[in-house]
Point group: C2
Chain length 646, copies 2
């Protein structure tokens, strides 16, 4: 720990941080100008006004197909008194775009012409001068302002430029971003490495590269630099000597790494910001080099770095580019779960967003700066202001949509107990056109019932076994959701048992082995159906939970249990066979159980739910579930009734 860290600049808000940097930007920091061929100028920003060289069109031309005439010669034409015109003398056939012949000043469209003989026509209404004629300069007049300065060139603009004879256009140079990832533990993805424990594959630079591409920037990267001050100094100096306008140093995870960034910024320039009052994104460092380049020390953790890229880098890039970023699309959504929050920190929380009934519903995804998966499964993001200590369940929040509205409407909000069949369902639903996106939140079976009752989910996966009745789910629904109109549809019958290492080294045969001193267990969270099943069987076996080492260690998913066993953090845990299989673990069967989908009557006709039902009845889908291993599909798709049991 570096106890000197606290004597440096205190953390500030993102807005204040941006201000500090913008204050330092002088013309020396800005991209220069360059000339590019007009047809390659999409998205570029004009550095000066562009005026037309030619008028367009350069001649009076026909706006339609028909005949060109002298309007005067038609003035007496009426329905009851048609005028006959002679080819050559009175009219000339003409097509759209052709020049109007001298002496003519009007075009009569072909539909208004009656062919009399081969060389004469009659008309029944007069033409007026300039009728159907596209006149000189009607589109563009020479010297007219085509595009102002600081204008982002669109596809249409390119057409105007080329039509107007503007072959090249003066634009601002693209902003250049150069990234230097650092850290002893960081591996270069280009070598396609197999990471050892303690190592991570560097990926933040490529996330930024993709963002930079969409922002219209040039991008370059140094291969990852280890935590050696001399090597970092050399890499940074090379970047400062390059054409980049912004240099990003990606932090590694050691304390030394973060300190290097701060020190090197102070050496090569001035430190402006040391830490943001933002989560994720806190360990962001900002400065300006002696040669006027913006220096950014980005956090190493993917979600933290993304906040740094989106909230700090993007506004800076747009400022340097002279572009205006798009307004984010926001909706009001109901929070399905309370969120604790830290006072004094602005938090950026990724959420899953769907439409349930009339409302948008936002479900927080797992938090924590390492949750890269969060970034790919979130349809929205919400900002929790620094002065709030948390947000209550059911509160309406403003959510910035990260996915398009149409996609949000296609989100099937599912809460409850996690199961691999839900992942399988998700993949199959994604094949529909348009795709249905399953947003699943793992809150356990009881959490699922609660969400359905509150109208904040379309569907819940539950598998609550009631030891007293021997029935599944209905007893709990009667008790906790007595007024709910719903249907219970079976998704699959699952095999639950103890997951152990291959070869079962601890020789765990049944629950009787759990109280052993040399056996470490890992449990599911309170409220999970699997935990209820465990408690039931422990009770039947007359084993007290306190005697089970690790009973209070909780995981939230079957895969989480499996991973604990695989990594020898625990010796066994209760879960489904599919999870054991996925990680090559052995499986000691314990029980079969029903995994059902709880669907409110209100959503039975929802297109997305209908598609789920279709899948559940499809032979291919059932075969796919069976092939996961540890499942039976004899009840799949059938509506369950009270007392059916298993």
């Amino acid at each position: 720990m570096d106890s000197q860290r606290s004597i440096y600049l205190k953390t500030i808000s993102i807005d204040e941080a941006l201000e500090k940097v913008l204050e330092e930007i002088t013309p020396a920091s800005l991209p220069g100008r360059e000339s590019v061929p007009s047809q390659q100028a999409l998205g570029r920003v004009t550095a000066g006004p562009v005026r037309a060289r030619y008028s367009s069109p350069t001649f009076h031309s026909a706006a339609m197909d028909g005949v060109a005439v002298r309007a005067e010669s038609t003035f007496t034409a009426r329905e009851d008194n048609p005028v006959i015109l002679e080819k050559g003398r009175d009219y000339v056939e003409i097509n759209t775009g052709n020049p109007i012949p001298d002496g003519m000043d009007s075009v009569i469209m072909v539909e208004k012409i009656n062919q009399e003989y081969e060389h004469s026509i009659s008309i029944e209404q007069p033409a007026y001068p300039w009728q159907n004629v596209r006149r000189i300069g009607e589109d563009i007049v020479a010297t007219e302002l085509l595009l102002p300065r600081n204008h982002e060139i669109s596809a249409y603009d390119i057409g105007v430029l080329l039509s107007g004879g503007i072959w090249e256009v003066d634009v601002y140079q693209q902003v250049g971003i150069h990234v230097i990832p650092t850290g002893d533990e960081v591996l270069d993805f280009t070598s396609r490495p197999d990471p050892s424990p303690g190592q991570v594959i560097e990926s933040n630079s490529q996330v930024l590269a993709a963002m930079a591409q969409s922002w219209g920037c040039r991008f370059s990267r140094t291969a990852p630099v280890p935590d050696e001050p001399q090597k970092l100094e050399k890499a940074l100096q090379e970047a400062l000597d390059s054409q980049a306008h912004i240099v990003v140093i990606g932090a590694g995870s050691s304390a030394g790494s973060k300190d290097f960034t701060r020190r090197i910024i102070q050496e090569k320039g001035r430190l402006l910001v040391h830490g943001l009052k933002a989560m994720p994104g806190k360990p962001t460092v900002l400065g300006i080099s002696h040669n006027n380049k913006i220096l950014v020390g980005a956090p190493g953790y993917p979600v933290s770095s993304v906040i740094c890229f989106e909230q700090i880098l993007k506004p800076l890039v747009y400022h340097l580019s002279g572009k205006t970023p798009e307004e984010p699309v926001t909706v009001e959504a109901r929070l399905t779960r309370k969120i604790p929050s830290r006072l004094g920190m602005e938090e950026f929380l990724r959420v899953s967003v769907g439409r349930v009934g009339e409302q948008y519903v936002a479900t927080p995804l797992p938090r924590g700066a390492g949750m890269m998966t969060t970034l790919t499964k979130a349809q929205g993001m919400t900002r929790i202001p620094a002065d709030l200590e948390g947000m209550q369940q059911d509160r309406m929040i403003e959510v910035q949509l990260l996915r398009r509205s149409r996609e949000v409407n296609q989100v099937l909000v599912t809460v409850g107990s996690h199961d691999n069949t839900v992942d399988f369902l998700a993949n199959e639903l994604a094949l529909f056109n348009p795709p249905v996106r399953l947003a699943s939140t793992h809150v356990g079976s009881m959490g699922g019932i609660t969400a359905i009752r509150r109208g904040t989910a379309h569907m819940a996966g539950i598998h609550l076994f009631d030891p007293e009745t021997g029935d599944y789910n209905f007893p709990f629904l009667d008790k906790y959701a007595p007024d709910l109109d719903y249907r219970l549809i079976n998704l699959a019958v699952r095999h639950q048992g103890l997951m152990v290492l291959p070869g079962n080294p601890r020789n765990i045969r049944s629950l009787q082995d759990l109280p052993r001193d040399d056996v470490e267990f890992v449990n599911r969270q309170k409220g999970a159906g699997t935990r209820i099943l465990l408690d039931h069987h422990l009770q039947q076996a007359d084993i007290s939970p306190e005697k089970v080492k690790g009973y209070s260690n909780e995981e939230y998913t079957h895969m989480g249990i499996a991973v604990n066993v695989l990594s020898r953090t625990a010796d066994c845990g209760l879960g489904i066979k599919a999870a054991a299989q996925a990680l090559g673990l052995d499986f000691v069967p314990l029980a079969r159980e029903r995994y059902d989908l709880l669907i409110p009557e209100d959503f039975i006709q929802d297109d997305k739910v209908v598609q789920v039902m279709n899948l559940l009845h499809s032979r291919d889908f059932k075969a796919g579930i069976e092939s996961l291993g540890g499942y039976e599909t004899t009840l799949t798709g059938r509506e369950m009734k009270p007392g059916m049991g298993l």
Copy 2:
């Protein structure tokens, strides 16, 4: 004219046309699959599900900086009963991301630690197991579904792929679009030609190239092909033999050209659609080749071709790509002018959109398929359904925004009489950050007063001279807008006179020359201040308008008058010196007049108007106006009062 044209397929709506083409698309039409490096996969669509190879992280790691401990050893810690921990034995210093040492299971953050001596610390609250620990697989679990099939890869997804050791990803190949522009009159822009009368520079292919780039397509183009069937057949065959999925033939303007397209499509495939019930865009032809490529005959006129690209090509491309296009952003806006419309045709009308007071205001831009400028000056577009014969002024219409909302709020809606100083003002306003976009509609001074009265514009440029009082604008405002609260601010004093060819070949000295038989005049539209000025001076000179040849020929702008004179369509016209100068014309001065800005009191404090006022008072701005030639700035920026005159 080809009278046989009417026996082919009848025109259909765009929706029907798309259906017809989509019905014909078989797997043979679709792009295949390919493997691309993950870091290059932005915007690509996954061809299959992608599962994680590794778990991430691969070890339990610290989620924060602090010390790693065994949670159990801290259970008794309280504020009044701190626990002392010894370095090495009880705790290990650790930084975010480092592996948790064996035997430890918890991390206490640095802020909660009190340093006792160099090797011991005390804590005042217990740690729980797994506190601040990022556990194995917490982010990504091996074999977990990372991305489903048919998923458009985002920047975040790239991070997930690389972190998860997925170096390449299976995606659909990009859709290939190949364009063949045709037409004898069409010039290849790559040769930077100077067009002669009758020729146009081919630009539609590059508008489509830019759109294709934003749609994620590959794009290629044949150099323009003349109207010779054999050459077109050869070019088309080469395109059909290529990797393109869609081949676009850009029509030239001759009747032969359009017919070639239809015939060649029937030769190389099947004709599906021949003409759309859409304006612009009507002459669109669609077909499918024998080898399953989509064939599109696009109109030659820029605005028509753009409708074809946006309304037909884009949906087809997205369908082939497996992507979902974004929902367009739409607003309700009040129409400032009535629009006539053709029954039976769906019309796509480009409009200028600004916010005036609380409402969005849409002003139709000039129509006509050649109006490329329309495409660059429109903030929005509205669709007029086929069953409407027009829309009334003040009607609320749905407008699709083509520019971002923030830009619409920056639009200063100006109507009235056109002047070059307004263009100059537009350029200067565009330099502000964010830029202010002047949307100016030329409806003449009276049209300007009407718009202000109706609350559909921020500002109006007017220059109405009242011969009776010798005053400008106020007499008209008293009469036509008696209840309006407004200010009248001078923009400039202009010199008006007769524009003639250099050297004044017709020897036009004054209005007395206008009744001459050999002098053709060109006028401004009714209601224009310039026309009122003309009528005043004609009356003073006792010249009857009927005696002036060309009096009823109307142009809408000063530049339009100038261009008429330059092209010898007319011998002279009344206008401002600036316009004459711009085109190198001679100028016979007639009068000076005031050009004022009418601004409702409600908008005087509007940021955009304040910026206009700042400019009007700026020395640089006034110098800029003077340098245009034909202007005086002695009154610029001053508030005018009744009776001031000039």
